[in-house]
């Protein structure tokens, strides 16, 4: 009998906790704490404790599946590769789209974007960062020249004011929430801005319960008062920024007064004043923390920039206990962006439209026909084209993603899936999406591979293989290698181990250049790490905004705009959606973990008591929630914790699919859908 512990990192959220997988005679049977990690010190959330239970589920995909006569039947790898190679070869590059996965390791993502660009020669490569923090990447890049979180989790414990906006970190990033609670224990104040009285808001010293989609109004109002009270850190602003006058002219307009903001946001003036007082009292020791409540809006990029602006005005950048702390959602969404699985950049954020960058990448890969010079399609554009213009886009290679559950307007997504002429999905389970595929390929999960992933504080850490993948399932990058070889590109994918992939990647990715597998033992390393003797970088922008052309942050005028869809007579309630601590978005992994499922087996609709009373709805009663997109039946949860006029629904459950009603309207820059705001109505179901 052999029992061993394999230390690895978590496949769920962007906090990147470590734990040990307990392996008995080659099979994972449990998870145990690993106290060594500086991120979580052995502590875990429910998903860390029980989220391993899906690994050896009998539902795991173990062979390729090929659709024959409308039915998906098991096939051999040779058959599957032959079908794929033949069909991929039929299409022009612009007719193909590739969706990589923020849940897969850096090596898988690097391989996927290389496969898309070298083998399929398509510029259309994207992944689910699109659906969550793409606005952070774009927004912070525009202001600071780097799209990543500026500080570190440990550092959050050093702030004396935590300003949390659009983040329910108690549920979404519990071990990051812990750092904020540590700060609180030391005397820090906590402000939470959220339409819901979430578990996070319950720990706040000040809860600003604003309407969904009114963040810029709120932030501009705060900035107006900071400027008019002369609390601006002029030394910082004068020396390290451009555009202050433009920003000032915008936010000092009357419409951003306390009184008007109070009306627009639905927040008492006293609360805004208290927030201002605390921002002043804790200048240079204030951390802003944000998540999808800020990004999943048609103004997501501008929301993020506004946060960057307010911190810049106060001089709260490049210092401990400060910064813009974007809590990235997926375990490796930071990494998948770093790896260039995006339609506008290569690995290391080299722009595809920059001829020098394109040549550098082409030379490194030894190719001459990279699809450079043009931006590829984003996921929403891919889905729109598949749905409405299927003659333009015909083929999709999808890795580790479940759009039928995760993307807004489910009926539209289903139509898109139906229209795809040749569809390959690579996943670990059959999902609501795989049933549309012509070929389904069985991949490995995090516990079955060596690799690296990058958490929300830019810390690169290891996945370590604890057991073999089941049946004939293979490593994800290995599958791409096999397809590439079948299509005549073996020499471009000549890797034997994940470390080979990593070492190829880091030579062309400046932020990772100094990182090696050996160096990652122990604490991991926060990029940028430009050379092998560099220790990594916990805090960004200490002396300069290195990614900006003149080293200075860019301030601009940003006006508040209403969400794409606002409430009206027909649809008089706001709907916002989000996650829970027990489940991961589409539920394919966590709904197969008995302990997690037991606590949270199905959906609910949070409804304020006063609204429920007016509508005549009792707690637990099933109602019909509808929008211009569709309708869904769901049980009402009547409570005080949600703002009057606003509903909330979690989106994990196929039997009560929140995305049937959500809006596809997206941010024009980042293309991130407005999951957080749409207009709905509720009707009682017939008895």
């Amino acid at each position: 009998m052999e029992i061993k512990y394999v230390t690895t990192t978590c496949p769920y959220c962007g906090t990147g906790c470590s734990f040990n997988l307990v392996v008995k005679d080659g099979k994972i049977i449990d998870a145990q704490p690993s106290q060594r990690s500086p991120v979580n010190e052995g502590k875990l959330c429910p998903k860390g404790v029980y989220g391993f239970e899906f690994i050896n589920s009998p539902d795991r995909l173990t062979t390729p599946l090929i659709k024959k006569d409308g039915k998906q039947v098991p096939a051999t790898w040779d058959e599957a590769l032959a079908v794929i190679a033949e069909n991929f070869g039929k299409y022009k590059p612009e007719e193909i789209a590739v969706i990589s996965s923020a849940r897969c390791c850096n090596e898988d993502n690097y391989a996927m974007q290389k496969f898309a660009r070298v083998v399929l020669k398509t510029p259309n490569v994207d992944h689910c960062a699109r659906l969550c923090h793409a606005p952070t990447v774009a927004g912070l890049n525009m202001v600071f020249g780097s799209g990543a979180s500026t500080n570190s989790f440990m550092d959050l414990a050093n702030c004396s004011l935590a300003f949390i906006i659009g983040s329910n970190n108690f549920e979404a990033h519990p071990l990051a929430a812990r750092r904020i609670m540590q700060a609180k224990k030391k005397g820090a104040k906590v402000i939470v801005c959220d339409p819901r009285l979430t578990p996070t808001a319950k720990q706040a010293d000040l809860h600003i319960q604003h309407y969904p989609g009114t963040d810029i109004q709120l932030l501009n109002c705060l900035m107006k008062n900071i400027i008019e009270n002369d609390w601006v850190d002029h030394e910082f602003v004068d020396n390290r920024t451009n555009g202050y006058e433009e920003l000032k002219a915008c936010v000092t307009q009357d419409k951003y007064s306390l009184e008007n903001t109070s009306k627009v946001c639905g927040v008492p003036v006293e609360k805004l004043q208290l927030a201002l007082q605390w921002l002043r009292e804790n200048q240079h020791k204030t951390a802003f923390v944000h998540c999808l409540g800020i990004t999943q809006h048609t103004v997501g990029v501008d929301n993020v920039r506004s946060i960057a602006f307010i911190q810049t005005l106060l001089g709260n950048i490049g210092k401990p206990g400060c910064g813009v702390n974007a809590l990235r959602g997926q375990n490796n969404v930071q990494g998948s962006c770093d790896m260039g699985a995006l339609p506008n950049v290569y690995a290391g954020y080299l722009s595809v439209t920059n001829p020098e960058a394109a040549k550098k990448v082409a030379d490194y890969w030894g190719v001459t026909d990279l699809p450079s010079g043009k931006l590829g399609l984003h996921i929403p554009e891919m889905l729109e084209t598949f749905e409405h213009e299927p003659e333009k886009l015909k083929c999709l290679y999808l890795l580790g993603e479940n759009p039928v559950m995760s993307d807004p307007n489910s009926k539209g997504v289903e139509k898109a899936m139906e229209n795809i002429e040749f569809f390959v999905v690579q996943d670990i389970f059959e999902t609501e999406t795989t049933k549309y595929a012509d070929v389904v390929l069985p991949g490995s999960c995090y516990a079955e591979e060596d690799g690296t992933q990058t958490n929300a504080e830019r810390r690169v850490q290891r996945f370590r293989k604890a057991q073999d993948a089941p049946g004939e399932a293979k490593l994800d990058w290995e599958i791409m290698k096999m397809i590439a070889a079948k299509m005549g590109y073996a020499d471009k994918f000549a890797w034997e181990t994940s470390e080979d992939v990593f070492n190829e990647m880091r030579k062309i990715t400046p932020q990772y250049a100094g990182i090696t597998y050996a160096k990652l033992e122990g604490d991991g390393i926060q990029w940028p790490c430009p050379t092998e003797d560099h220790p990594g970088t916990p805090i960004l922008h200490i002396t300069s905004f290195a990614g900006m052309p003149d080293g200075k942050a860019k301030l601009q005028a940003i006006e508040h705009r209403a969400p794409a869809e606002v409430i009206d007579e027909e649809y008089p309630f706001w709907l916002t959606t989000g996650a829970t601590i027990w489940h991961w978005p589409s539920g394919s992994m966590t709904r197969r973990c008995a302990q997690l499922d037991r606590d949270c087996p199905t959906a609910w609709l949070e409804m304020n008591k006063k609204d429920a009373e007016k509508l005549g709805i009792a707690d637990g009663e099933k109602v019909l929630l509808s929008s211009r997109r569709g309708e869904v039946a769901v049980a009402a949860r009547v409570m005080d914790d949600i703002k009057e006029g606003v509903f909330f629904m979690p989106f994990h459950f196929i039997e009560a699919r929140a995305n049937l009603v959500t809006n596809t309207a997206y941010d024009p820059v980042s293309r991130t859908p407005e999951y957080k705001v749409c207009a709905v109505k509720v009707t009682k179901q017939e008895a």
Binding site: T7, S34, R36, P46, F170, R598
Partner: protein, 403 residues
């Protein structure tokens, strides 16, 4: 031939074993494994570095060499792993190295029928307390001004936490001083009175090794018939050598133990008083518990918790899917665990929201013990488990016996 209660200095005859002080423990484990006295050894080894202790489940005697030496960051608790992964030692003989908390955990799990003590051979290790890896690394950097990656060995000696660097230099700071500043040993270790685990079959350490053998021998106290048998067998087989302990050494060992027990009691009073009493304490407990995210780490790690279907999962008591869970979640834990709490500290160390669970539990345990005149949990195999459970059929518990 030795007898229960005998003490001696012992050291290994195996040149390959580089022990902490004499290598007797490693030698005994090797002997037990090689001679099929046990089928496996469950102990602790270094992971990526000295701040990363990991359990080691060993069937190949050669692998024991790497486990020699102390690791003061070894905060993990072993007995529940036997229940979870080794079928409670039902059909397999296992040797286990145990600190005081491990030994008490073993007893309490055995009393509940979760571990077969007939198949367990325990070698106890003196323990002055452990430090969590993160605290150790942070304190070495901030208080010692040393890069924690440069430390090759740490030890606790004469009231100091001492680190040794690659170049042979070392630096020590008084534990009291460190703990005044909020670092040092875990809070439950500061309260602990179980410094020499006599619940084990053989209790070993370096306290009391005085004179010529100082630093070169292990102090051994035989605590059971099983211990007698194994120890004598090892001596007879020429695996270890022994000599009588120095009188001065015995005196020193007694002193150290007494001082540490006194310190433990003092820290209990200090920490429990700070909690307040009555309504004030309850308010504090409710406030701290309001951060709970229902991760179940406390329940999974607790050696007193072993029910198949934990009552916290009954929706009549705790509404599912809410965080924080209603206070009944914690009250169920207090009611079932507090009477038997052995102060192992796992529930507090592993809590993602730093709820001082072990502090609450241990405070309650000391008061309950006084109230009902019971023995300390984890010391006496003949005392029934002090717990109350709905699920009598499954857990085999008895109700608290009032005097």
């Amino acid at each position: 031939m030795s007898a229960k209660g005998d003490m001696c200095y012992a050291w290994t005859k195996d040149a390959g074993i580089k022990g902490e002080c004499g290598g007797a423990v490693t030698s005994l484990l090797k002997y037990a494994l090689q001679n099929h006295i046990v089928d496996a050894v469950l102990t602790v080894k270094k992971g990526v570095d000295i701040y990363d202790p990991q359990p080691a489940f060993i069937t190949d005697p050669k692998e024991l060499d790497a486990c020699a030496g102390s690791l003061h960051c070894g905060t993990l608790l072993l007995p529940k792993l036997i229940m979870k992964y080794l079928d409670g030692a039902k059909d397999m003989k296992i040797a286990v190295t145990v600190k005081g908390c491990d030994a008490k955990a073993m007893y309490e799990l055995a009393k509940r029928g979760k571990i077969n003590m007939d198949n367990i051979f325990m070698i106890g290790l003196n323990c002055g307390g452990s430090v969590t890896p993160f605290t150790a690394r942070t304190m070495i950097l901030e208080k010692y001004g040393i890069n924690p990656d440069d430390v090759v060995k740490e030890e606790i000696d004469k009231g100091q936490f001492i680190v040794m660097l690659k170049d042979g230099t070392h630096k020590g700071i008084s534990i009291d001083e460190l703990e005044e500043e909020g670092v040092g040993r875990r809070l439950n270790c500061q309260r602990c009175e179980t410094k020499i685990p006599r619940q084990a079959d053989i209790a070993c350490g370096n306290w009391g090794v005085f004179g010529e053998k100082a630093g070169k021998a292990t102090f051994v106290e035989i605590c059971s018939e099983k211990g007698v048998k194994v120890f004598d067998g090892a001596v007879k087989a020429g695996i270890i050598d022994t000599c009588a302990p120095e009188a001065k050494g015995l005196e020193i060992r007694g002193k150290i133990e007494n001082v540490m027990v006194k310190m433990g009691k003092k820290n209990q009073k200090k920490q429990f008083d700070a909690l307040g009493y009555g309504a004030k304490r309850l308010e504090f407990m409710q406030k701290e518990s309001s951060r709970c995210i229902k991760c179940y780490s406390c329940i999974e790690a607790c050696p007193i918790c072993s029910c198949k279907d934990c009552i916290t999962k009954d929706p009549n008591f705790v509404i599912p899917g809410r965080i924080p869970p209603n206070f009944m979640f914690h009250m169920i834990r207090y009611a079932h665990v507090a009477p038997s709490c052995i102060n192992c500290g796992q529930c507090q160390e592993l809590c993602p929201m730093d709820i001082p669970n072990a502090l609450f539990m241990h405070a309650m345990q000391t008061e309950i013990q006084e109230l009902i005149g019971a023995q300390k949990p984890g010391y006496d195999m003949t005392q029934s488990p002090l717990a109350y459970s709905e699920d009598k059929k499954d857990s085999g518990f008895v109700f608290i016996k009032m005097p």
